[in-house]
Symmetry: C2
Subunit: 255 residues, 2 copies
């Protein structure tokens, strides 16, 4: 992988919320977004989790948006005092936070339909950085938004997922990273040396090795080969399979 | 919360691994470590996830270790070519990566007991930054380590958890952050304005508001009040409960 390949689109995820850092809420968004973006041809390169503190959010956002094609934020866009993400995004971009009329209309309609008061707290959710476009929220109304290369979404997983579905068709995507998982039926320590040789010989291909415990065989290994070129992927898969056969024959002969 | 309070011990978590960023593996360590550290009196202030790329790991590690009391890393200490965390920690600290004799002995003993070859791949796991102390791994032998304020642990959750149990008694801990969860039985948008006033009036107390969907009542809210002082916590809890009663009376009267 190299950053100068124009077919590569990169992303970072910025999770915002004290509740994730205290462990009270277990994040379910990172894995979902990572898998979703990988599938559509966007490489997630970094994730950060920061507290509900303006300086932390703004600093992280500016570090990430200058470095990756997209930044996806989750959390902090609700109606309460600890929801400060929209204000922080506005600050990071140096634009005002405005009452967005389209967002206000959506929230007003939803409030009327639910018999809720359109109060100060609910109107907070219509405060959107100037120049942003809204990202629809089919679950609960109050929208996310996109400004520049930053997409700001809710933290509640069902709402975040609905927003990601809305925004995904509008994103640039690159050559998809293809992957194959090869179950080694061998211990990681028995295949590591030879696997490293294959990795060194194929610099354009990413090879990962992930131990797992197999109820039948005991310690086992999944080898994951990743490449954007299907031919190259198949070639390296073949090399890994041949290596596994050779290692297992050697081990059998030694016993 | 303020950083100049000597009773506060802070931490960051650095998750290392392509498999988390691709979404292939869903992280289970962040939430576990966050909850564990919060419980023993260490505040997690930031989390980063980075790929198996030396420059990324070293940069993140140096940014985090200079800023927080502790950094806990997970992942990348196995026997394969993609396990580069120990080398990166050594590089970040500017020390050599040595064959650690104590680690070698543990790995050799484990290999002999399991009938495994003590090969180059397995010996990779005995390469430890000079000056580090080992963190025992009661699950599978190959140890983690600690150097300075950085604690390097495995990525496999069961092994990471065992290592965290080993290292926890050796850590400095601060005044514990206490928390109380108050179930509002009200919509977040109905309590947000008044809750914000309580938050502003109590700057030393952290108040979070977390919407959830209640099968009986529909949209509902958990309000989490956090403080290190038990008396202050009880006082603010009382204020929140009084506010909830008042808001619900107003809403009932308006209907």
């Amino acid at each position: 992988m190299s950053d100068d390949n124009p077919a590569i689109v990169s992303a970072a995820i910025l999770v915002i919320g004290d509740e994730i850092l205290s462990g009270r809420t277990k994040d379910k968004n990172i894995g979902y977004i990572a898998e979703y973006l990988t599938t559509i041809g966007i490489d997630v390169r970094e994730v950060r989790v920061v507290p509900d503190v303006e300086a932390e959010i703004v600093t992280a956002l500016n570090a990430l948006r200058s470095r990756y094609s997209y930044v996806f934020t989750t959390g902090g866009i609700g109606p309460t005092h600890d929801d400060i993400t929209a204000a922080c995004v506005a600050k990071a971009f140096g634009v005002p936070l405005d009452l967005n009329e389209a967002a206000r209309a959506i929230i007003a309609e939803r409030a009327a339909a639910s018999g809720n008061e359109l109060n100060e707290a609910r109107l907070r959710m219509a405060m959107i950085p100037r120049g942003a476009t809204l990202v629809a929220n089919k679950v609960s109304g109050a929208p996310g938004f996109r400004i520049g290369n930053v997409i700001t979404m809710a933290g509640v997983p069902a709402i975040m997922q609905a927003m990601l579905d809305e925004v995904a068709p509008t994103l640039d995507t690159g050559a998809k990273m293809l992957s194959e998982t090869i179950r080694a039926d061998a211990k990681e320590g028995d295949v590591g040396t030879e696997l490293g040789k294959i990795a060194s010989a194929n610099p354009g291909v990413s090879i990962g090795s992930y131990p797992f415990f197999d109820d039948k065989l005991g310690p086992n290994t999944n080898i994951v080969v990743r490449a954007r070129d299907a031919g190259k992927l198949a070639e390296v898969r073949g090399q890994v399979e041949a290596m596994l056969r050779a290692v297992k024959e050697q081990l059998a002969a030694a016993r």
